[in-house]
């Protein structure tokens, strides 16, 4: 899927955090780009080992943390979704969606809930982790449809989902089309059949593959990690 880039990370951009007291603060770089990285609408996977800086990278792209060096450009409305839905446990998914959406968007959310077999009447606090993730995923998808162009940054949204739902969700992402760019942190590569690119962090460097090497994205990931 090729069109104007919604995300541009110039080469030399460094991601990480600053630690220590204000007068002797030191920078801890976790991820660095050696060449320009651009991504347009479609599904982009961010796969890397634990503790390599995926969440820090995603938060920086969302504008929640500053870069250590360089500047990231996003050409659309950014929606950041943390790894878990944390909200009023007494609230029901139906109330949650009504609070965020109305009219056609609300209908889309309800339709998606039906497709993913989510009980809209059960309080969020009583839902299983997987079902809470479904609420988050529906929220993300409907929000993406509200803006003419949007960048969805999702941190491990598939965690806790059963295999069938994972397949459903990745298929939905792949076939959604439209103008949204989805950058998704995930570990469940086996369920992804179709994606537009894969990003990974190897040795502190952000690597980007726009084409699949081998039979699956897992092969691509392994190649990039070498």
């Amino acid at each position: 899927m090729n069109s104007s880039p919604l995300l541009h990370i110039p080469g030399g951009t460094r991601f990480g955090y600053r630690a220590g007291l204000p007068w002797k603060r030191r920078s801890q770089c976790l991820v660095e780009t050696t060449r320009d990285i651009t991504a347009g609408p479609g599904l982009h996977l961010l796969v890397a080992p634990n503790g390599s800086g995926k969440t820090t990278l995603l938060r920086t792209l969302a504008g929640l943390s500053p870069t250590l060096h360089g500047q990231v450009k996003t050409g659309a409305r950014v929606h950041y979704f943390a790894d878990e839905l944390r909200t009023d446990p007494e609230m029901k998914p139906s109330t949650f969606f009504r609070a965020w959406f109305k009219g056609e968007s609300l209908q889309t959310a309800e339709k998606l809930a039906e497709t993913l077999r989510l009980n809209l009447k059960c309080p969020i606090g009583k839902l299983s982790r997987g079902n809470r993730q479904k609420v988050l995923l529906i929220h993300a998808e409907v929000k993406a449809g509200l803006s003419p162009q949007s960048v969805l940054l999702m941190d491990e949204p598939l965690t806790g989902l059963d295999a069938e739902t994972r397949e459903q969700v990745t298929h939905l992402w792949a076939t959604a089309g439209g103008t949204a760019m989805r950058l998704v942190i995930m570990h469940e590569l086996e369920c992804v059949r179709q994606a537009d690119s894969l990003l990974t962090i190897a040795g502190g460097q952000l690597k980007h593959a726009t084409e699949r090497t081998g039979e699956s994205w897992m092969n691509t990931y392994q190649t990039l990690q070498q």
Binding site: G63, L64, Y80, A82, D88
Partner: protein
């Protein structure tokens, strides 16, 4: 915000206005019942500002920050200032509702019969409502902002402490600090919150009429400046990072 407790707060206002005056020896002089109800209505408003309102404000700020909702909104383009004001407005609605209930009680049940007195009574109630809101709004904003940065207990205690000092502490510290020759002590007196200026309950109880316009403007200015300083402090403290 506990949805049930919001409605209990409003129901509590009506019950308090009804029951509290009956605990006085009103049978000996039934005439005291009317001003006692007005007093009870405003005492309840102050009690809410000491307890439920800052508690809900601090809990709201703390919860939404921990849940990551503030981050989500910030990434979506809603700035910190806008978030801080929107969250505070969610609490202001309830503060203003409690004030409206007190004003309504005073303007209906306890209003004087004579037209001239009733008009003065109405002006006083409007002044009270305005001045109280000037005092309460910045404190609630501070509670919300502190809630996003620290523990709920601290976020609750700081505005309540400021309110306590401003409402009662000034009466004890005034003679010591206000009349002192030392410039430092005088400055300290000026820097203290002066919420005692916002308490017009004695004027209601003793039917002293509204504040003269110059006094009203002076009080409003002092509370507005004080509120602006507290609000700025609160906005600086507001944090979205979960």
């Amino acid at each position: 915000m506990g949805r049930g407790s919001c409605w209990l707060l409003l129901l509590g206002a009506l019950l308090f206005v009804w029951i509290a005056p009956l605990l006085t020896p009103w049978e000996e002089n039934p005439q005291i019942l009317q001003p006692a109800r007005a007093q009870a209505a405003w005492v309840y408003v102050w009690l809410a500002l000491f307890t439920w309102l800052p508690f809900q404000a601090s809990a709201l700020g703390h919860r939404l920050r921990c849940e990551g909702m503030l981050e989500h909104l910030q990434a979506g383009g809603t700035g910190k200032l806008s978030q801080c004001l929107q969250l505070s407005c969610a609490i202001f609605v309830w503060m203003l509702t409690v004030v409206a209930i007190a004003a309504l009680v005073c303007l209906t049940i306890t209003a004087p019969k004579r037209a001239e007195e009733a008009q003065m009574w109405m002006v006083l109630i409007l002044q009270y409502g305005f001045i109280f809101s000037l005092c309460a709004a910045p404190l609630l904003l501070l509670a919300v902002a502190l809630g996003t940065r620290t523990a709920e207990v601290i976020a609750f205690m700081v505005p309540v402490g400021l309110l306590f000092i401003g409402l009662f502490g000034a009466a004890w510290l005034g003679p010591i600090l206000g009349g002192a020759k030392s410039g430092l002590l005088n400055s300290l007196w000026l820097a203290l919150p002066h919420y005692h200026l916002a308490d017009l309950t004695p004027r209601l109880v003793f039917k002293m009429g509204p504040l003269p316009m110059t006094d009203f403007m002076g009080t409003s200015l002092v509370l507005a400046l004080q509120g602006a300083a507290i609000s700025l402090f609160g906005i600086c403290l507001f944090r979205t990072r979960s």
